[in-house]
């Protein structure tokens, strides 16, 4: 059997654990830089606050309904997530951390277990130990555990947030209830095409012929169909595959117009990408740079552009990646634009150990020595201690985080106070 465990209103719950007076109160969490709403408590959903709502347009809404607004506190969320995952690992060795607030669990050799009781025990222990409320769906395949999880949440007054699909009857009942667009792995485009064929529910989808599904939705679609029929085709991904692209993008606190300042930002983003790249022992072959103005501003001219620069060899050097990123910026930067956002994405990622060597061009070997020294210094003395000369020494990421909660679990100066 598989289980999908996910945290209820994860970000809001993290805040509530350390501020229990916010239980039952509407909570909204904002993206980096306090840009838009990225997480909502059930109470604020009911008030009609949409996901992704730009914060500046909703300040009177927040005041009117007394919504408690938070800047995103990733150090806290990351730590709470790790705690939840640690507790889950006590119940089975096979845990796939699917996202910050979700995990797939695989149960092999649990045939004699009452899975519902076992799931409730998991739910209870996670809540007791970490304070985090979770919903659990259990089924014979990953896709069905996801379906069961939706049932558990939707009918929580009956299920208490645990639902097990362990019979054909329950499977069909759940699939007949679930709209096809809500099925895990069915994107908007497939949903639209299926709607043309009068496929409305997950159950309708399983009634299609294998041939049609394979032809129209490739083997991925067919696998999903089998999963919904109760035949497991998608195994747990226990090893995190290295990321295919690494991005560092930021919205600016205040608009940037000067080329020098933009060069500084892009250098910093490129350096951060290089550091992330080295942290996963990879090299990259290309760097993508983009800039854009503020689309919400009517009074300034709008501009957005991006470019992909291929590099002559795979590298993980901050110096090289920054050099090419700046070359990209030079191509796309335009004067008299007020820029709101920029970013650097490194791609064409290969493991450092098995990269393709080229005959004539390669990274200066001294770069790798320098980079590993820099990484060691950062490990010991904290990040951002060594910068390129074209980066601003004094500038660290000054994110706009006006509503930031304390880092209760990762900074001893921020721990809760008790009387």
């Amino acid at each position: 059997m598989f289980a999908l465990v996910d945290c209820n209103n994860f970000y809001a719950s993290c805040e509530r654990i350390f501020q229990p007076s916010l239980n039952d109160k509407p909570i909204a969490i904002l993206s980096n830089n306090d840009g838009c709403v990225i997480a909502r408590s059930n109470e604020v959903k009911r008030l009609g606050l949409p996901m992704g709502a730009p914060a500046h347009k909703f300040s009177s809404f927040f005041r009117q309904y007394d919504v408690k607004v938070f800047s995103s506190n990733y150090p806290l969320y990351g730590d709470m997530s790790n705690r939840v995952m640690d507790v889950l690992r006590q119940f089975t060795p096979e845990v796939e951390v699917y996202s910050i607030d979700e995990a797939f669990l695989h149960f092999q050799g649990f045939e004699n277990y009452d899975m519902e009781q076992y799931a409730r025990e998991m739910q209870k222990r996670v809540l007791k130990w970490t304070g985090m409320p979770v919903s659990i769906g259990v089924g014979p395949t990953k896709a069905l555990s996801k379906v069961a999880n939706r049932v558990a949440k939707k009918f929580n007054h009956k299920t208490n947030n645990v639902y097990v699909i362990n019979s054909n009857f329950k499977r069909i009942k759940a699939l007949k209830w679930l709209p096809i667009s809500s099925v895990w792995g069915i994107g908007r485009q497939h949903a639209r095409r299926l709607a043309f064929k009068q496929i409305e529910t997950a159950h309708d989808f399983t009634q299609l012929s294998d041939e049609w599904v394979r032809k129209e939705m490739s083997v991925v679609g067919l696998r999903l169909k089998k999963e919904l029929e109760g035949i497991s085709t998608i195994p747990l991904e226990l090893k995190r595959s290295p990321k295919k692209a690494i991005a560092t993008t930021r919205s600016f606190e205040s608009l940037i117009e000067s080329y020098e300042e933009m060069r500084e930002r892009v250098s910093t983003f490129a350096s951060l990408c290089a550091e992330k790249l080295r942290a996963q022992s990879s090299d990259c072959n290309a760097v993508y740079v983009f800039v854009r103005s503020n689309p919400f501003s009517a009074k300034h001219p709008q501009y957005r552009n991006s470019t992909l620069i291929g590099m002559p060899f795979a590298t993980r050097s901050t110096l090289t990646i920054t050099k090419y990123a700046l070359r990209g910026l030079e191509q796309i930067f335009r004067k008299n634009i007020k820029y709101k956002k920029a970013g650097v994405i490194v791609t064409g990622i290969v493991p450092s150990k098995s990269k393709q060597m080229t005959l004539f061009d390669r990274e200066d070997y001294r770069h790798n020595l320098l980079m590993s020294s820099i990484d060691k210094i950062h490990q010991r003395y904290g990040p951002h201690k060594i910068k390129l000369a074209n980066q601003d020494i004094n500038r660290t990421f000054k994110m706009k985080q006006t509503q930031l909660s304390p880092r209760y679990t990762t900074d001893v100066r921020h721990i809760i106070k008790v009387k």
């Binding site: 790790n82 939840v84 007791k128 970490t130 150990k353 020595l369 721990i415 106070k417 008790v418 009387k419």
Partner: protein, 144 residues
């Protein structure tokens, strides 16, 4: 027929590992340290204090309501959320909008939050009051 030659390519590992010069045992040809076979890890306070990492949280004490239990203003307390609240345990509770640390007392099915300072009064938990027993205090760390 042409014989195929299998060539296996390797990337040279250019990262030299020689940036650490100091060898713990020195490079002399002398007698190796007799303690080497009996190496143990140095004592870690974390291991002594944290029995359940996922469930351990810390808090700073404000005020002197627990002074007779050795918990003073400014002390750091270690909280284990996984432990069951019981009569006699010191617990961090959330009541009336704030966190408080008190000793739990259960008498005839009634829960009391008992301070350890004679200037403070025990608090009876009525059915209406919303009490969250947040975690059990296992250690207190003082700085002098």
């Amino acid at each position: 027929m042409k014989k195929s030659i299998n060539l296996e390519f390797y990337s040279p590992e250019v990262n030299n590992k020689l940036n650490v010069w100091l060898s713990e045992e020195g490079v002399s040809a002398g007698f190796p340290s007799p303690a080497n076979d009996f190496k143990e890890l140095r004592i870690s306070l974390d291991k002594v204090v944290v029995k359940n990492e996922a469930a351990t949280f810390y808090a700073r004490v404000v005020g002197q309501s627990m002074i007779d239990a050795g918990i003073d203003d400014g002390d750091l307390i270690v909280i284990d959320k996984s432990l069951e609240p019981k009569d006699g345990k010191i617990a961090v509770c959330f009541i009336d909008g704030e966190f408080t640390v008190k000793r739990l007392k259960v008498r005839k099915g009634v829960v009391w939050l008992v301070p350890e300072n004679k200037n403070y009064k025990p608090l009876k938990i009525s059915d209406e009051s919303e009490l969250i027993i947040w975690g059990i205090v296992t250690h207190v760390l003082k700085s002098f």
